[in-house]
Symmetry: C2
Subunit: 709 residues, 2 copies
């Protein structure tokens, strides 16, 4: 593994260049090939010249600006240019040198191009870092703060280097404090240099760098051994989710050393380096604001420092209150007035189903413990892994071996919509009546529900429900994943069908009595939207309700809710649901509540995240690109909305057990795209703060995988 280190300073003028020169001099003195890179130099004082004057290292300044000011004032390049320039130099120099030192400018958070703070600026490369401490009065504070700022940005701070005394006094005890605080094994010191000419100084002191070099050698070796063995260790002790272990071995496990933006930074196949790899599944559909996002890391630390966790029962804290207000505001559904917190989509669905079934029983005077009451839903739905959530879906490969799974309900088949050969086309399974218009120019036209006639769908739905109830079926809720059924195979449902389904259910009285129309209460059945996957801007909007143009009575949000950092779920409900639980008996309450309910850290991250998400772009995949894919001979249809791109491959054996996708997955891996197989569907998701360059780079690789020029 390469010996590349980045030098940060706890403050400006603490001796970054002097330490680096001493390191270079010692190394070149023992015959090592050393390169020094200064990515940005401002003013006339060239650090790289100081290096080459005082050591045999090859030294180079990549970008230079005359104005001797903080780089954010003098440098006019973009971060992308800087990182790309540095990255190319690193690749090039790695061929010729076995040690590379990269020196940053000023302190750890000194601003640079585009006002990025140093530690944020260089974060994509995440080089192992060395912090040069401040030996002066007050330097304990600035050094520990600087260290924390580096850690918050996910750096490995390998070592802390400090002069053994300050310019102004012999002793402030800084060095001893650093050894105690950071661990004496990783703190090293050097004699304070004299004023003026340093040639003799370097000759005298460079040998003091031997223990540092030994330590950096050891770190590099151990780090390489560690990451090389991680997959083998994991194979022995991790029980992987949704995985047949007979198919898993250390060769199939990806070792993720860190992550940033849309990418994992993973160990390469030959174990020689860490390479970026597009996280195509957005880490199971969670990532929204980029991996390793320092704003969200800080939001977590802030609430961690202020609260840790506090119980929600009968209390209130600011992050829980503010997030509840924000989610109710953003989802903008006048029906929803109450927020119930839980830990993940599956628990949030269990909450939703408890809410809905009890509300139905109260309304219709049914026995609340009547286990025969089921849900109405759509085929291929998936609502979570806990047994109650599983019971909301029809029998499938996911639940057939779950001993306590019970098929509780009825699931409609439905028309789907995908782009085929440049046109948005509806596909109708057997038994589903066609509507008048079945092809569209744009996806916007598909969602123009006001100009489309739902009558055939509504007639069909009502007839089916009447048949079922006459056969003795009893229903307590309608549960939908709006627009896109995720785990079921990225099935894009005709939104008009979902609209018709909701409206039809609302026009039926499920106890056979007369309908009482009241806009403030649910009618027919409580309607639950499972927006765990599709909500919170995943499809470009805070709630996917707006696509269906029918308001749910209960809605469940998770995944992107925290920007893709921490588990958290919100189940929102209307007053008419909530009121069903009011009584003089505690046993009538909604007796649900996990210990970490409304965890302040997760709520605070969600708040910070939604604040950023609301201003993010909402379209990502290029129209031409989607169009082109839809003509590909292997492609049956494509769906692209918001951050999601789903490509349905042609395969006679479609569904979860299909293996047609596996060849594509292999090709994608070789192009550094990490995907999660889903039968005959290959899908991709990006973060909401992705740039055009990010998207283009992904699209280009997908086109390569499909042999599209």
């Amino acid at each position: 593994m390469l010996k590349r280190f980045q030098i940060f300073g706890a403050n400006t003028d603490v001796g970054k260049t002097i330490f680096t020169t001493a390191l270079c001099k010692y190394l070149t003195g023992i015959g090592e090939r050393v390169s020094y890179l200064k990515p940005i130099q401002t003013g006339d004082d060239y650090d790289h010249k100081h290096i080459s004057r005082n050591s045999q290292a090859f030294s180079e300044n990549i970008f230079h600006y005359k104005l001797a000011a903080s780089p954010h004032l003098s440098a006019d390049i973009s971060r992308r240019e800087l990182i790309s320039g540095l990255s190319n130099k690193l690749i090039d120099h790695s061929k010729h040198f076995n040690w590379i030192f990269v020196e940053t400018a000023g302190g750890v958070l000194t601003p640079g191009p585009e006002n990025y703070l140093q530690a944020d600026l260089y974060r994509p490369l995440r080089l192992p870092s060395i912090l040069v401490a401040d030996p002066n009065l007050g330097g304990i504070s600035s050094t520990i703060s600087a260290y924390e700022s580096l850690k918050t940005r996910g750096y490995d701070v390998v070592s802390v280097l400090s002069f053994n005394r300050s310019k102004n006094a012999d002793f402030y005890g800084n060095l001893e404090f650093f050894q105690n605080h950071f661990g004496s094994n990783k703190v090293f010191s050097l004699d304070l240099p004299p004023e003026g000419e340093l040639t003799n100084y370097y000759s005298e002191v460079s040998s003091q760098m031997q223990p540092v070099i030994d330590y950096l050698e050891k770190y590099t070796k151990e780090k390489h051994e560690y990451v090389s063995n991680m997959a083998a260790e994991a194979e022995k002790i991790i029980w992987y989710p949704f995985s047949q272990h007979k198919e898993i071995n250390k060769g199939t496990i990806t070792t993720i050393d860190s992550a940033y933006g849309n990418d994992f930074y993973s160990l390469s196949k030959d174990k020689s380096e860490i390479v970026p790899q597009f996280d195509g599944s957005a880490s199971w559909w969670t990532q929204g604001l980029g991996h390793g996002n320092s704003s969200l890391a800080l939001a977590a630390a802030e609430a961690g420092g202020r609260y840790g966790h506090v119980i929600l029962a009968n209390t209130i804290h600011e992050p829980a209150l503010e997030l509840a207000k924000k989610v109710l505001k953003y989802t903008n559904n006048p029906r929803l007035s109450r927020v119930f917190y839980s830990d993940n989509g599956s628990t949030g669905i269990e909450v939703a189903i408890k809410m809905a079934l009890k509300s139905t029983c109260v309304r219709y005077g049914w026995d609340v413990s009547d286990g025969s009451i089921g849900v109405l839903g759509l085929k291929g739905s998936y609502h979570g892994d806990t047994i109650g959530a599983m019971d909301c879906s029809e029998p499938s490969v996911f639940n057939k071996q779950i001993t306590w799974y019970k098929n509780r309900g009825f699931w409609f088949d439905y028309p789907t919509v995908t782009m085929k050969k440049g046109r948005w086309v509806l596909d109708f399974p057997d038994g589903i009546p066609k509507v008048s218009k079945t092809e569209f120019d744009t996806i916007e036209d598909v969602f123009e529900l006001d100009s489309r006639d739902p009558t055939p769908y509504k007639k069909f739905v009502k007839r089916e429900i009447n048949r079922l109830t006459s056969e003795g079926y009893k229903f307590g809720a309608l549960m939908l994943e709006p627009v896109l059924l995720g785990a079921g195979g990225m099935k894009s449902v005709d939104p008009l069908f979902q609209h018709a389904l909701v409206e039809s259910v609302r026009e039926i009285q499920f106890d056979g009595s007369e309908r009482t129309v009241d806009v403030n209460t649910w009618s027919g059945l409580p309607v639950i939207y499972d927006e765990v996957f599709t909500g919170m801007y995943r499809l470009g909007k805070p709630s996917s309700t707006s696509f269906i143009k029918s308001l749910p009575d209960i809605s469940v949000h998770a995944k992107v809710l925290t920007g893709g950092t921490l588990p958290l779920c919100i189940t929102t409900a209307s007053d008419s649901i909530f009121n069903s639980f009011l009584s003089d008996g505690k046993a009538d309450a909604l007796l649900h509540g996990h210990s970490y309910t409304a965890n302040p850290i997760a709520c605070n991250v969600a708040l910070a995240s939604l604040e950023i998400l609301k201003d993010c772009r909402t379209t990502f995949w290029g129209e031409d690109f989607v169009n082109e894919l839809s003509y590909h001979p292997s492609v049956d249809g494509v769906f692209a909305l918001g951050t999601v791109l789903a490509i349905h491959l042609k395969d006679s054996n479609s569904g979860y057990q299909s293996t047609i996708g596996s060849e594509f997955h292999k090709t994608l891996r070789s192009l550094n795209i990490h995907t999660r197989p889903l039968g005959n569907v290959v899908y991709f998701m990006c973060g909401h703060n992705s740039s055009n360059d990010d998207i283009n780079s992904i699209q280009d690789r997908i086109k390569t995988a499909f042999n599209i020029q």
Copy 2:
């Protein structure tokens, strides 16, 4: 609300005292009563004299040390003394002054007494803070870093103050950058002072502090309005867990402004101040290393910055791998070899039950989808709120209104053990045979299982199981909460009974065939320990297995796992369970896995937490104190082990619906103890890093509540 502010410096010598003097001068000039407090002064340069020379403020230095060095070298008081001294001064001065400024020493992380860094040192009081910025070259970096260190410790950094230029140059652009970074509304500036005498300077510039004072006034007013309204706002939109909303109103909701150590900092009844309140339930049994723990907050930020979240399916990352290794090592059960991650205790139990039932079906050749297979357990167990976890308990108030709940199993009654009048006594319900020894001097004697005879228990258990299986019951697992059944009412089971139950089950073949004895595989039924509440040092040991002296085949850990910060659950299992899922079919795999499975942030916090927990004390409640309680006429029995103290009150109507505790809860509230009712049981839990002083303070208040002198 009181106008009290703490002044932190981004570095030493950035002008904390000058800004504070200017604030004091302006305020006293307009007739305000102002107090200035310097908690610790080192050396001969008295900041408080500078204040009184240049303003009409009352100024005082609380502790003084002659040595002009960092306070950690010169001050020899403890943090407790310092905080108590400062706290008393604040109470006293609040009577006479309407503004109080407290000036810290050096930079935000300059060490003080007991090597506590400034921001950690003063964290218990969490005064609203003002950060004085560094206007010099490099000051952008040190100021933002300092700000982040304050936020990580949970401070409200109300305002950032900066000189408008540096000593060495007219312009580094720092002030503009601060305005942009922190928000221009909260950043204020002041002219740079001249060298030497400052009397004229203060006269000229103090009016520049008017906008700062206006802002601090506004902040105080808005903060007071906000916290005063939080309960009313929450009442309207939060749907509370496990709560009958008819009993909830804004007067019953506790507003928690922050939390630290064992305490909430809550709005007082009269809404005039924020007061510490012992979090008696350890926030639903989660808190382990103190609320607002900055080490854990930093561990969260570190993983947030390095990864955010990454998918676990077929990948590995360092926090997940290291935590899995650590938990397997600490729980020290040779049977357990595999770690499955999920998000909370309830999901972890669902995982456990899926594991166990399938393993049983494979072993005995039963149909894996046979929903009649149930669990063996104990009456009053509670394993979580999701429906699968609910099905593992007998019918009760918790589940009787859950439409899909199904009673799946059989639950044994059992003998309990509590201290009564100074003796540890076993209580036997009807039908449970007595063992020979039923009274003990110490709790250690109760757990001396080797010297106790389990024969009567084993005979009883075997007879019962034979009766049940002959009646057609089919069992797939034995599930236990070892030692203490939490939600069921803090029932402390005779550990010998649990031991006998496990060993008896292991001696029975549940399909009627011959027993194959193999130490490496489970026999009879897979044994699941639900250690969500009792594990991870809650009772003083990493696993409560050691109390029962029988090894489980599956064990579930959550709650304290992360030290009480974030939701995370680990289900560990043996190879013989794991191997039941190996096959050539994906559908045979354990198809479970939440999106945030093995979340790196939660795993990293758990790692940091366990590293600290392993060295913490293991006994907390005083023997004499527990003894005294056990003689109280209202007390039926007491149980104390590890951090847990459970007091069972005498009541004819015991259980969840009992209200006998409610009077005690009211008394406890008035003594600033926040408890969570649990029928006739009043219980308390503290963090593992509690000091003797902490414990004594809690014990004294409990004694007061019970009228014990």
